[in-house]
Amino acid sequence: MLVLQTLNSMGPMHGFGIALRIQQVSQDLLQLNQGTLYPALLRLGQRGWVVSKWGTSENNRKAKFYSLTRAGRKQLDRQVESWGRMSGMINRVLRTT
C-alpha cells in the first residue's frame, strides 16, 4: 500500500527513489531493508497494479521506472478505504473502552 501510495503521489519512480521516499515519509521510523522492496514490486507487477519500464534517472543513470496502472489506482482506493474503515473501527473500539 505504501508503494502504491508513493507511486500515486509521486508519479513514475525507480526502486531507490521509492525506498528513499518511504523512508522520508515515515520519517525514518520504518527502517526496512531496501532489498525487500523489489520482491514486493515484482508481486505488484504480477498482479497488474504497476508496470515497469527502463529509463534514465535524473543523474543519467539507467534505472527501471515503476508507474501505477488503472487497476493499481483502483486497488489503492480500495485499500485506503478499507484501511480507513479498519482504523476507524479500531479507534472507536479503543475510545469506547
Binding site: 528513499l20 531496501q34 532489498g35 525487500t36 520482491p39 504480477q46 497488474g48 539507467k62 534505472a63
Partner: protein, 889 residues
C-alpha cells in the same frame, strides 16, 4: 481471483525468460546500489562508508535475489527442471549404465506394448473401420451333449432376428473362396458370404458405389452382385474409376460389382483379409451342399450381433436362449437339442481370435515376467551406481539437502530412464505390429492380416507400465539413500566378506527373483517345445509322408456336375499313369483343413436315440482307394471302389468310434445307417484318424462314396514318394492338357497340412521361446554382474586368503559356490512357481503334463549351464588376485 490467475500466468511465463529476467534484476539492483552510494556521497560520507551504508540499508543482495526469484517463477517447476537437467547430466556421465538400463527397459516395456497392441488389434478391436466393436458379439449354435460351437441355419437366424428386441442387428458372415481370373492371371481369393445388412450394420461405407440393399440376401441365386475390397480394386482392377457396374465372373457366374470397400477394411474374420463380399442369396454358388436358405436343418452360418447400447451379454443371452427354446419346440425334427450362444468378440470361436487367445493370454503373463526381470536388472545396476554415488549423496545431505529432495532427484532419474525406455518400447511395438503374421505358415490365396493396434489405450497402458517401472527404479536407490549414515559413510569403506553385508543381500535377492522368473519361462518354453514335437510327431491316423495334396478349382471355372465327373476321372487316370504315383483319389474335404465336413442327423437300426438328443455325425465324401491313398487302415470290410457309383447300392464306411457307439461294438458291416434321409449299407470299418484338429478326442465319423453324393469341389490326394515340386510340374501339365484355362493349387505334403493346422502351437512356442531366451540372458547378466561386483569389492579378503595359503582352486570354489547357491535358490523358487503356473498353458499343451519332469530337467540343465558361464569369469578373475598388490593397497 483475476489477480491470482494473472500472477500464475506471469510466473509461468517467467520460466521461459529466465536469462533476460536475471539480467534485468542484476541491472536494477546494481543501479539501486549505485544511486544509494551516490546519495550517501552527497550526504558527505567517504566512498568506502557510502558503499558500506548502501549495502547495509539494502540488506543481503543475494538473499534479495533469491526471494525475488522465488516470487518470480514457479519454484516447484524450477526444481523439477533442475532435477531433470541434473539427472540427464548424471546419466550422460555414465553412458554405459544409461544405455544398458534404457535397453533393458526398452525390452521390458516393448514386450508389454507389443503384446498389448496385439491383444487390442486382434482380440478387442480386431476389425478396422467397424463402428462400436464393444457392442459386437459373436453368435454360434450349440448342440446338447457336445462341447464347442456349431454353425447356424439361415431360417433360424431370420427367426432370431425377428424375435429378439435387445439387438440392433444380426450380421451374417461366412468365409468362402473362389479363383479369380482377371486378364490372364488366375488367383485364389477369399471373401465372405454376408447378409444384405452387412455394410450398414457394421458402419462401413463403400468408397465407391454402394453396399448391399435389403432383400439382396433372399431368393435362390437371385442377386449376383459383389462388393470388392480396396486392395483388390487397386491391385487387380488397377484402381479403375469406372469399376461400378462392370461384371466379374465369380465361380462361373457374372457378378455386377456394386461397390468398393474403403481402404484398410479387411472384413470381419480375424487373421484373414477378405477380398470380396457377396450377398447370402448367392450362397449356393459358393458353398457346397446345395441351396440352404430355406433349410433349417443345414447349419452353415457364422454371425455377429450388435447389442443395443446398455444391454449386457447376459441379458442378450437370456433372450436368445428363450427364442432358441421356442424354436426347439416349433421345429423338433431339426432343432431338438440345439441352442444359440453369444461370445465376446475376443473369444470368437470361428476365426483366429479363438486360436490365438490362449497364446496371447500366456504372453500377457510372460511379458510381465520380462518387465520384472528387466527392472530387477536395472535395479541391480542402480544399486552399483548408488554405491558409487554414496559420496555424492552424503555430501548433499551434509550440506542440508532434505531427504525428500534427494528422493525427488532419484525418482526424476528413474523417470528419465523409463521415459526413454517407453519411447523405445513403443518403437519396438510398432516394429512388431505385423510380426505375428510372420509366424503363421504362408498359404496360397490367403492374405494374413494380424495387426497390432497401437491406439491410445495401448499407449496409456504402456505409460502405466513405465510409471510402475519408474517407481521400482526410484525405490531401489531411494531405499539405499534413505539408509545413508553420515558418520559411517564419511569413514572409509571397509570390505565385507564375499557376498556378505546388507547391500549384497538386496542385490542377491534381486538376482534370485530374476533366476526364478526366467526358470519359470524356461520350463514353459520346454513344455511347449515338447508338445509341439509331440503334435508334429503324433500320428494323425493317416500318412503324413509320401502323400501330396492339391486341388483344381472346378467350381470357380463353372463346371457342372457331369463335366466335373468327366474331368476328374480323366485327370485321375492321367495322374495314376505318371511315373512314381502309387494311387490317387478325390475327396471333398481335406482333413485338418479349414473346410467343414458335411454333417447329418443319422438313424441306425437298433440304436434307440435318446429323446432329448438327435445323433448328428460328420462325414466326408471320398473316392475309390481313399483309405489306401491316405494310409488309413481298415479294421474290417472293404473300401470304396469304382463300382460304388450312382447306379450301385448306397454304401458307407464308418470309423471305430462310430461302430462302438451306434452298434455297441458289434460288427456293423451289412447294417444300415440313415444319412440325409437315405439308407446306406455299412461296408467297412476304418481306424480312427484326426479330422478337424490333431487335438480332438476320438469322435464318430463316417465316409460315403463321392460318386453317390457328388459335389463339384474336391481336393486331390496322391500317394507318391516324389517331392511336391516335381509333382507340381507334372500335375500342371496334365491339368493344362485337359483344360488350358484351369490353374492348379499349390501342391503340399500332408505333413505340411498338419503343420499348418498346428500353427497356433508354433506361434506360442516361438514367442515364449524367444522371450524365455531373452529373460535367461537378462538373468545371466544379472548373475554375472552380482558375482563380478562381489569379487571386485572383496579383493582384499581374497588376497588375504591367498596369503593365508588358499590355492586357486579353493578360491574358484568359493566364488563359484556363491554363484551357484544363488542359482540353486532361484531354481528352487522358480520350480515352485512353475508348478503352480504351468497349468495356465493348459490348452496349448498336447500330451504333456504341466509338471512334466523332462521339461523341468531341461530347464534346469539350461539354467545350470548359463549360470556356470556367468560365474566362471568372475571366479577366474578371483583366482588372479595378486596378494602383494592387495596388501600394498
Amino acid at each position: 481471483m483475476r489477480e491470482t490467475f494473472r500472477t500464475l500466468v506471469q510466473r509461468f511465463a517467467a520460466l521461459f525468460r529466465r536469462r533476460q529476467l536475471e539480467h534485468d534484476l542484476d541491472e536494477e539492483l546494481r543501479s539501486h546500489l549505485e544511486m544509494a552510494i551516490e546519495f550517501n556521497l552527497r550526504k558527505g560520507m567517504s566512498p568506502s562508508n557510502a558503499r558500506r551504508e548502501a549495502l547495509r540499508s539494502f540488506g543481503g543482495v543475494e538473499q534479495t535475489k533469491e526471494v525475488y526469484r522465488e516470487q518470480r517463477g514457479l519454484p516447484v517447476i524450477e526444481t523439477t527442471l533442475q532435477d531433470l537437467r541434473f539427472g540427464l547430466r548424471m546419466l550422460l556421465r555414465s553412458p554405459g549404465f544409461s544405455i544398458l538400463a534404457v535397453l533393458c527397459l526398452t525390452l521390458g516395456i516393448g514386450a508389454n506394448a507389443a503384446v498389448f497392441s496385439w491383444v487390442e488389434g486382434i482380440l478387442f478391436r480386431p476389425y478396422p473401420l467397424v463402428a462400436h466393436q464393444e457392442r459386437l458379439l459373436a453368435l454360434t449354435g450349440t448342440a446338447r451333449g457336445e462341447s464347442g460351437h456349431a454353425d447356424i441355419s439361415w431360417p433360424d437366424l431370420l427367426d432370431l432376428q425377428s424375435s429378439c428386441t435387445l439387438m440392433d442387428s444380426f450380421i451374417v458372415t461366412k468365409i468362402t473362396g473362389t479363383t479369380l481370373s482377371i486378364g490372364d492371371r488366375a488367383e485364389r481369393t477369399i471373401g465372405s458370404i454376408v447378409s444384405a445388412n452387412y455394410f450398414d450394420a457394421i458402419g462401413v461405407h463403400p468408397v465407391l458405389g454402394r453396399g448391399f440393399e435389403p432383400g439382396e440376401d433372399s431368393g435362390q441365386n437371385a442377386h449376383p452382385v459383389t462388393v470388392i475390397s480396396y486392395q483388390l480394386w487397386q491391385g487387380r482392377f488397377k484402381g479403375d474409376s469406372q469399376i461400378i457396374g462392370k461384371t466379374q465372373r465369380l465361380n462361373g457366374v457374372p457378378h455386377t460389382i456394386v461397390g468398393v470397400a474403403p481402404e484398410g477394411f479387411y472384413g470381419t474374420f480375424v487373421g484373414w483379409g477378405m477380398q470380396f463380399w457377396v450377398p447370402a442369396s448367392m450362397e449356393e454358388l459358393f458353398e457346397a451342399g446345395g441351396y440352404k436358405l430355406e433349410d433349417r436343418g443345414t447349419r452353415w452360418i457364422e454371425a455377429y450381433v450388435r447389442l443395443k447400447p446398455g444391454v449386457t451379454l447376459e441379458q442378450a443371452q437370456q433372450e436368445i436362449s428363450a427364442v432358441a427354446k421356442r424354436l426347439e419346440v416349433d421345429y423338433p425334427s431339426t432343432n431338438r437339442g440345439r441352442g444359440i450362444k453369444l461370445w465376446p468378440l475376443w473369444q470368437t470361436p470361428f476365426n483366429n481370435a479363438g486360436t490365438l487367445l490362449p497364446t496371447l493370454e500366456i504372453m500377457l503373463v510372460v511379458v510381465v515376467f520380462v518387465l520384472l526381470i528387466a527392472c530387477a536388472n536395472i535395479g541391480n545396476l542402480l544399486l552399483v551406481r548408488s554405491f558409487a554415488r554414496r559420496n555424492e549423496m552424503t555430501v548433499r545431505i551434509a550440506i542440508g539437502a532434505g531427504r525428500g529432495r534427494l528422493l525427488k532427484q532419484l525418482f526424476t532419474e528413474g523417470l528419465i530412464l523409463s521415459a526413454f525406455g517407453a519411447a523405445g518400447g513403443l518403437l519396438v511395438a510398432h516394429w512388431c505390429r505385423h510380426a505375428l503374421v510372420l509366424l503363421f505358415p504362408a498359404r496360397a490365396g490367403v492374405t494374413m492380416h494380424l495387426p497390432g493396434d497401437i491406439d491410445w489405450r495401448v499407449m496409456a497402458l504402456s505409460a502405466g507400465v513405465s510409471l510402475i517401472a519408474t517407481l521400482v527404479l526410484g525405490l531401489i536407490p531411494a531405499f539405499q539413500a534413505g539408509k545413508v549414515n553420515l558418520a559411517g559413510a564419511l569413514k572409509s569403506d571397509s570390505a565385507a566378506v564375499v557376498g556378505g553385508g546388507g547391500r549384497a543381500w538386496v542385490r542377491s535377492s534381486l538376482v534370485l527373483v530374476q533366476v526364478s522368473l526366467s526358470f519359470v519361462l524356461l520350463v514353459g518354453a520346454a513344455l511347449l517345445i515338447e508338445s509341439l514335437q509331440k503334435i508334429r510327431g503324433s500320428s494323425p491316423g493317416f500318412s503324413t509322408q509320401g502323400v501330396l495334396f492339391t486341388a483344381v478349382d472346378l467350381v470357380s471355372a463353372g463346371y457342372d456336375a457331369d463335366h466335373a465327373k468327366g474331368f476328374q476321372d480323366e485327370l485321375l487316370d492321367r495322374v495314376k499313369a505318371l511315373p512314381g504315383v502309387d494311387s490317387a483319389v478325390f475327396a471333398r474335404v481335406t482333413p485338418l483343413g479349414y473346410g467343414s465336413f458335411s454333417s447329418t442327423p443319422i438313424a441306425v437300426d437298433g440304436y434307440p436315440s435318446p429323446p432329448e438328443e438327435q445323433p448328428t455325425v460328420e462325414y466326408n465324401e471320398v473316392g475309390p482307394d481313399y483309405f489306401r491313398t491316405m494310409g488309413i487302415p481298415l479294421v474290417s470290410g472293404r473300401e470304396f471302389t469304382r463300382a460304388d457309383d450312382e447306379k450301385a447300392a448306397l454304401v458307407a464306411v464308418v470309423n471305430e468310434t462310430m461302430a462302438a457307439k451306434y452298434w455297441f461294438g458289434r460288427n456293423p458291416i451289412g447294417e444300415r445307417v440313415k444319412v440325409k434321409d437315405r439308407w446306406m449299407r455299412v461296408i467297412g470299418v476304418a481306424k480312427n484318424s484326426k479330422y478337424q484338429s490333431v487335438r480332438e478326442t476320438p469322435t464318430p465319423f463316417f465316409y460315403v462314396s463321392r460318386r453317390q453324393n457328388f459335389s463339384v469341389g474336391a481336393g486331390l490326394f496322391i500317394r507318391t514318394p516324389l517331392s511336391p515340386g516335381i509333382m507340381a510340374t507334372a500335375l500342371a501339365n496334365e491339368v493344362h492338357a485337359l483344360d488350358g484355362n484351369l490353374a492348379l493349387y499349390e501342391v503340399i505334403t500332408l505333413q505340411e497340412q498338419l503343420d499348418r493346422s498346428t500353427s497356433p502351437q508354433l506361434v506360442a512356442v516361438t514367442l515364449v521361446g524367444v522371450l524365455g531366451g531373452l529373460t535367461l540372458l537378462l538373468a545371466v547378466i544379472g548373475l554375472y554382474g552380482v558375482m563380478s561386483y562381489a569379487v571386485s569389492q572383496n579383493t582384499r579378503e581374497l588376497g588375504l586368503r591367498v596369503v593365508l595359503g588358499a590355492d586357486r582352486s579353493s578360491l574358484l570354489r568359493l566364488v563359484m559356490s556363491r554363484g551357484l547357491t544363488l542359482m540353486a535358490g532361484g531354481v528352487l523358487l522358480g520350480a515352485a512357481a512353475a508348478l503352480a503356473l504351468t497349468r495356465l498353458l493348459g490348452n496349448l499343451l498336447f500330451d504333456v503334463s504341466p509338471r512334466d519332469p523332462q521339461a523341468f530337467g531341461s530347464a534346469l540343465a539350461v539354467m545350470t549351464i548359463a549360470s556356470l558361464a556367468a560365474c566362471t569369469l568372475p571366479a577366474w578373475r578371483a583366482t588372479r588376485t595378486d596378494p602383494a598388490r592387495v596388501l600394498r593397497d
